[in-house]
Symmetry: C2
Subunit: 255 residues, 2 copies
C-alpha cells in the first residue's frame, strides 16, 4: 500500500479496507473461510499491524468480517434475507406450513438450510413486555433461528400465563398454525397486529448468539397481537443483524 501522503484524503486504513473488501467479493478470501492473521495481512499490504486492525474494524462494522480473539477473523457467509412481515399472519398460509414456514421459505429462497430452536419457560418478563401484556406472569418462547447453521435471528415471544398456561403453547412444538392458531382456539383470535421497527445496538446476549461485533446495530421488530377485546395477547421481538434483513409490509387503501 503506497503512502502517497494521503493526497486523495482517503486514509490508508480505508484504502486497505477497500482493497480487502474487493478481494473478499472477488473470492480471494472465500465466504465462511478464515482470513490470514493481522500481522501477515500487514506484511502483505505493506502497512502496520494497527492499520490492518483498523481496516478490519471497518469491514467488521459492515458485517463482512467477524473476528474472534485468540482464534482468527472469518468471512461472513449469509446474503440479505427478505421477510414478508404480513403474509405470515394469514391463517391459511400459516396452517398449511406454519408460522415457522414463513422463515423456512425465506431461507430456502436463498438456497440455504433453515433451522430453528425453541425453549419454553415461565418467567417475569422485561418491564415493557409486562406493560403491554398487562401481567408479569408469562410464558416465554425463546426462539433462535439459523441459516446453514449461521445464527440469523433471535425471537423471544411472550404470552400471558393466565391465557396459555397448561396448553400446547407451553410445548416446544405449538402445533399447526403456531401459537396464533392455539390462541384462537382458546377464545382469543387476533384481530389486529402492531409492529414497531427500530434500530439499536445489540445487547450482550444478542451479540453473543448472533455473533455480532461490539457496537453493531440490530433491527428490533416489536410485534404485538391484539384480541377483539383490546387486550394484547401475544408479544414477540424479532432481533436481526441490521444489515442482514429487509422487512416488507404491504397494505390496501380504501378508496
Amino acid at each position: 500500500m503506497q503512502k502517497l501522503k494521503n493526497f486523495e484524503h482517503r486514509p490508508q486504513y480505508r484504502q486497505v479496507a477497500d482493497v480487502i473488501r474487493a478481494d473478499v467479493e472477488a473470492g480471494t478470501y472465500p465466504r465462511g473461510s478464515q482470513m490470514p492473521g493481522e500481522r501477515e495481512l500487514a506484511a502483505r499490504y505493506g502497512v502496520t499491524h494497527s492499520v490492518i486492525n483498523r481496516a478490519l474494524q471497518v469491514l467488521r462494522g459492515e458485517d463482512i468480517l467477524r473476528a474472534e480473539v485468540g482464534r482468527g477473523t472469518y468471512v461472513r457467509g449469509v446474503p440479505v434475507i427478505h421477510s414478508a412481515r404480513m403474509i405470515r399472519y394469514v391463517r391459511e398460509l400459516r396452517e398449511s406450513g406454519g408460522a415457522r414456514g414463513a422463515f423456512d421459505y425465506e431461507i430456502r429462497q436463498l438456497g440455504m438450510e433453515p433451522r430453528s430452536d425453541v425453549t419454553v419457560s415461565r418467567i417475569s418478563p422485561p418491564l415493557r413486555i409486562a406493560d403491554v401484556l398487562g401481567t408479569d406472569d408469562v410464558i416465554l418462547r425463546d426462539r433462535r433461528m439459523w441459516a446453514d447453521d449461521v445464527p440469523v435471528q433471535f425471537a423471544p415471544g411472550y404470552v400471558p400465563w393466565d391465557i396459555a398456561g397448561g396448553t400446547q403453547i407451553e410445548q416446544r412444538d405449538s402445533g399447526p398454525g403456531g401459537i396464533i392458531s392455539r390462541l384462537a382456539e382458546l377464545g382469543y383470535p387476533q384481530v389486529k397486529i402492531t409492529e414497531s421497527v427500530r434500530v439499536r445496538r445489540a445487547e450482550d446476549d444478542e451479540r453473543k448468539f448472533l455473533r455480532l461485533e461490539k457496537d453493531m446495530p440490530v433491527i428490533e421488530v416489536f410485534h404485538v397481537g391484539w384480541a377483539a377485546s383490546g387486550r394484547a395477547i401475544e408479544v414477540s421481538l424479532n432481533v436481526q443483524p441490521a444489515y442482514l434483513w429487509v422487512n416488507e409490509y404491504e397494505w390496501r387503501i380504501d378508496t
Copy 2:
C-alpha cells in the same frame, strides 16, 4: 482515569466513553453544545489523545456526539421520533392536514419545530426506481426535513412524467392531500402500498445532509404506491438516521 491494568477487561477507551456518556446524560455537556477539545479531554480524564479520540469514536457511533474536523465535537440534540407509517395514507387525515401533517405532528409531539423543504426537478432516476415505475422519465420531488433546524430525514419521491408532467405535482406545494390526492384526481388512485424497511450505511449525500459520521447506519424505507391497474405510480425513499426513528405498522386480520 485509572490504568488498573484492565483487570475488568473493559478497555480504557470504553471506560472513558462510559463516563463521558454518563456526563452527557447528566447535563455536564448539554444537548447541542460543543465539547471541549480532545486534548483537553485527554488531560481531564488522564489518558492519551488517541484514547479520547477512540472513546469519542464510540459515542459518535452511538449518534450521541458528532464531530467536525477543524471545528469541534458537538452533542446531539434530537430525541427518538416515532412514525406511524400507515396513518399518513388515510385520505381524510391526509386532506385535513396533509401528508406533511403527519411529519409535523410527529415532531410537534416532541416539543420541537418541524420544517421541510422540497425541490422539484425532471430527471432520470436510479435504476431500481426506474425499474419499479417502468420509465426513466420521472419527476423528482426531493424533500428534506428538519426538527428545530436539525436535519432528521431525507425523502426523495418519484412520479412518472407521463402521469404527472405539467400538473400541480410539479409545483413545490402539491396542494391539500399531497401528491397522492393529485394522482387520484388524475385518474390514478392508489389502492395498495408496499414498503421495504432495510438498514444500510449512509451514502455521501445523505451523510452530508443528515450530518452523519462515516459508517453510520440509516434506515431506508422504500415506499411504493400502486394503482388499480397494477402499475406503480409513486416511489419514495425515506432515509433516516438509524437510531433516531421508530417506524410503526398496524393492520387488521381477517378472522
